[in-house]
Symmetry: C2
Subunit: 148 residues, 2 copies
């Protein structure tokens, strides 16, 4: 059976992404958190007090879809909202949130390590640079701050 698709980078990228997201969600299931929740926790931890809109922009999530995400994570007691404006609200990790984050980071770091181990050692240093270049789009005019 011919597989003409597995030579296409775009197709490979899609299949790899969906299968790895599923795997990561399985690994996170024990903490009762999915990969989106996890990314939000990590982002808030690195930028305490950032706005809900800021988080949406950085995560590539529409403001509309951010509402449910924040509400769910807040409902688990992992984050706290504080009004800083009449319209904006700052997001902060709760004590529980910080504890869960520690477990999330352990899972994610193990996951990322296992990802890299699937790539031959000589190609391993190129994984992140290649993915950054492939993503690239939509971040070119993303303004001045960090790309680190």
């Amino acid at each position: 059976m011919q597989d003409p698709l597995s030579s296409l980078p775009g197709y490979l990228l899609r299949r790899a992404s969906s299968s790895l997201i599923a795997e990561l969600n399985q690994r996170l299931a024990g903490i009762d958190v999915n990969h989106t929740d996890a990314s939000l926790l990590i982002l808030i931890d690195a930028n305490p007090g950032l706005t809900q809109s800021d988080a949406a922009r950085m995560l590539g999530i529409q403001r509309a879809n951010m509402v449910g995400l924040v509400a769910r994570v807040e409902g688990r007691g992992l984050l706290v909202r504080e009004r800083v404006d009449g319209r904006s609200q700052a997001l902060l990790l709760s004590t529980d949130g910080k504890a869960v984050l520690a477990r999330v980071l352990a899972v994610i770091h193990a996951f990322e390590a296992s990802l890299l181990e699937r790539v031959p050692a000589d190609l391993r240093p190129h994984v992140v640079p290649i993915l950054r270049h492939l993503w690239g789009e939509g971040r070119e005019n993303a303004g001045g701050s960090s790309f680190a």
Copy 2:
């Protein structure tokens, strides 16, 4: 603003994938076909007469979800079903399907080329091998992801 996520291969993979799928769908919009339809056309062309279940397996799509996909593409007159069994049916490209496939291939090849151009020339040969390793090993557990 710190971005602690963009150093994580898994996160980069997800973002790159979703942004590139969106771009490919835009490029295909003129042909009135999406990336899933396109992959089905390519697969049938390379394996004329393959079974609907075979196609589902190769594309990583559940049999249940294949029904709507095949029905939609058949509804556009791009493929034909032929019973080979009392239960199986062979999928074949129609004349229109072959014509559309030619346009699809042109779009996809242009897209894949533009993908690779985003990667520095010295890293370019490593793109497909890396993606294959990232995907391949992820499938060791025989596919499905199930939450608890």
